[in-house]
Each structure stands twice: as C-alpha cells, then as structure tokens.
Symmetry: C2
Subunit: 210 residues, 2 copies
DNA sequence: CGTTAATGACTGACCGGACAGTCAGTAAGT
DNA sequence: ACTTACTGACTGTCCGGTCAGTCATTAACG
C-alpha cells in the first residue's frame, strides 16, 4: 500500500478522522440528534464521503464503539500488569488510572453513549458488556481474590466487591458529564477518590490478628 | 368542578394518562426516538389530543420529570423522618428504600432520562439537580454528620461520603437498566446491598475505643 | 317530553421542514 | 486517458405540530 502519496494517505486516515468527528458530535448531542452533515463538517469533509467508508449512521456508531475499546482497556491492563506491591497498592493504582481515563470526556463519552443507546442497539450493548465491562470487572475481582488469598483482605464475594469498588468512580464521571456544564463548583475528584480508597480498604481489610 | 360526569372525569384523568404513556415510551426508546403518535397510541388517544394538554413534545417531557419527583422523594423523606435507632441503622434503612425505588423501572426511568438528556435540556438538568439530587444527598450527609457528632462514625467529609454511599446503588440500577434485557443471570441485588453496607459501615466506623 | 342549539373533548388528514442516504459529476493524481 | 477520492444537489420518508371537522353530552326551549 502506497502511504507516501497524500491522496492515499487521506484514504488511510479518513476512517479515524471520521470516527473522531463522530465521537465529538455524538458526545455533544447524542446519537439520534446528530446529523451526518454535522459529523462531515467536523471532519472537514462532505456528507457523501462518510458513505464511502461506512454504509450508515448506525455503522459509524458501531465502529466508533468497537474501535475505542482496545486502546484504553489495553492501557489499563498494561499498567496493572506492570504494577507490583500489595493488593491495596495495586487497587489504588487501578482506581487512579480509571479515574484519570474517565475524567477525559473524549474517553468517557463511549461508555456513556453505550449506556444511553443500549436499548436501541442491544447487540452493541452485549458486545460492550462482554469485551469491556466484564474484562474490567475481572481485573478488579482478580486483584481482590489475590488479596484474600494473601490474607490482606477479608473473605467476600469478589465479583460484588469489584462492582462496589468501581461504582463511585463511574458515578462521579457520570455526575461530571451530566451536571458538569451547569455546576459552579466542580466535584473535588481527588479528595473523593482518596476518601473512597480509605473507606473501601478499611472496609475490606482483614481483622487485625491478635 | 364536576367530577361525576364521565366526560369531565376524562379531562381530569388525561394528563396523568398521557404522562404515564410518555414515561413508558421514553423509557423504551429515549426522547428523540419516540414519536408523539407512539405516546398517543399507548394512551389510547389520537395524536392531536396530546396537544390539547401539552404544547410540545418537550413540554410533555418536562412535565413528566417535574411531576414524577415529589411523590418518590417525599416518600423517602417520610420513611427517614419516622425512623429511629442508630445512624448506621438509619443508613441501612435509607439504602434499602432507595434500592427498592430504583429497582422499579417505572421510577428509575426518570433519573435515567435526565442523565441522558441533560445535554439537550440544561434547564431541566439544573432543576433536577437542585430539587432531587441535592435533597437526597443532603439527607444522607445529615445522617452521616449526626453519626460523627455522636461518635458512631469517624470524621470525614460528609458530602463526599454521601456520594460514595449512594454510588453503588445508582450504578447497580444503571447496570440493570442497561444490560438487564441482555443478562442471563441478574445481579444479586440483595447480597450486593448487604456487602455494600458491611464494607461502608466498617470503613466509616469510629475506631474502637480501648 | 321531544326537538334544537351549544359545548368541548377528541380526531386524523394534512403541511412543512429536516434529514438519511444516493449518484452523476468534478478534479486531483499518475 | 484513466483511476479514484471526493462533492453536493437531489429524493423519499418521517414526524412534530395544526386545524377543520365529528360526535356525545348537556342545556334551553316549546
């Protein structure tokens, strides 16, 4: 494939440019309300061009969701794989990475879109739950189980605890994306994270051995 | 007002019927995707009738959100006002009432709609945040502060802790409403609530006095 | 009573604008 | 000359909102 030719380079670059433009537009207006012309304009292209790369509006949306997963999830997994230390420390690291990712509106837009459109795109919802959510939860649950084996943590249901661990982080991101434009004083995310870690780790800590 | 006359009774009953139909339709398909005819059909009425009671689709949505608040929030506040016992016990009661309410798809549909449409209806979002979310958070924060004064709980930021307390409950409801139709084995809500209360109350409990 | 007029909740055909998707044409590159 | 990425005017459809008309009920009148 000739990648030095600017025209062919365009053709290679287009899909990513289009998805980036689609992401921004969907994020601002939601799926149903954005027009193909909006996406095209944002990508600096005419409406017809989109149809050279994606057969329909729905296809753009699905491609967007599918393409946006791997980079971020892989990054989280890489960070986690490289981590060492106590399970508590690795949980701290995980929640910080997750909070950082969800604080970026460009990243958090995807789960939010899946959330709002799951009813209209059940296949996509199923895909997302399996490929993203389940994997993320499994990472946390694995960490918790290791902590239990090591005696760092009490014995609890790891799957449930993983959800409880992630819940406040996701809710904070949702809060920002919902009320962020309205709110005068933003949530103190750092303080909230610290408190969450403090409460959770105390809550799950093994009883002190006498 | 003559309420015995069946024709006038209709006129009284219509708005509530229309809002109920609108709620179900919005819940299934989202705001942008539902057609006025869908709502009308569900209410057993023709499209024109809706416009005798509400001037626009947006007005239907706003009326729906505004009308649906007070009953449920008031119920929560009443339950809480009547409660006695330790702050921990009252937190348990609160979270159970909240979980029960959010488990009802007809009730949880409203916050979910606000969440997804906040961008398109900023005024409504502001209203909801002030009249519902802030009041709910204040209830929990007040309870936590009382617990701190009494020495039941450690000193922490009550506003943040209130969000952390509610986070998992809301996320569980969101999970159900997003993946509920897809999932084979539903979340064990009861067990999850118990674990959440267990972890949170341990996490916030005052250190045992020697 | 029986007849007629008035009321008003409700209907559904219709209008106009918006928008997803198409395709004949353009021009840049080789 | 030929390929090909791209354009944008055009089409068909869909849907929010309108409004002239229907019909059951009620009120007024003889």
């Amino acid at each position: 494939m000739d990648t030095t030719n600017p025209r062919r380079r365009r053709k290679q670059a287009r899909p990513a440019e289009l998805l980036a433009a689609a992401l921004d537009t969907f994020r601002d207006k939601g799926f149903a309300t954005t027009r193909m012309e909006d996406i095209a304009a944002r990508a600096g292209v005419s409406k017809g061009t989109i149809y050279l790369y994606y057969p329909s509006k729905q296809a753009v949306f699905e491609a967007l969701v599918r393409e946006s997963i791997l980079p971020n999830l892989a990054r989280l997994e890489a960070i986690q794989a490289a981590a060492s230390g106590s399970c508590a420390d690795r949980l701290r690291l995980f929640v910080r990475s997750l909070a950082e990712a969800t604080a970026d509106a460009r990243i958090f837009a995807i789960p939010k879109l899946v959330l709002t459109e799951a009813g209209n795109f059940p296949e996509l919802a199923r895909f997302y739950r399996q490929e993203v959510v389940a994997r993320g939860l499994a990472m946390v649950a694995g960490l918790l189980e290791e902590g239990m084996r090591r005696g760092e943590f009490r014995q609890v249901d790891a799957g449930l605890a993983a959800r409880l661990f992630i819940g406040p982080v996701m809710l904070a991101a949702l809060w920002r994306s919902t009320f962020g434009a309205i709110e005068e004083t933003p949530l103190p995310s750092g303080a909230m994270l610290d408190l969450h870690l403090d409460l959770f780790l105390r809550g799950i800590a093994a009883e002190a051995q006498p």
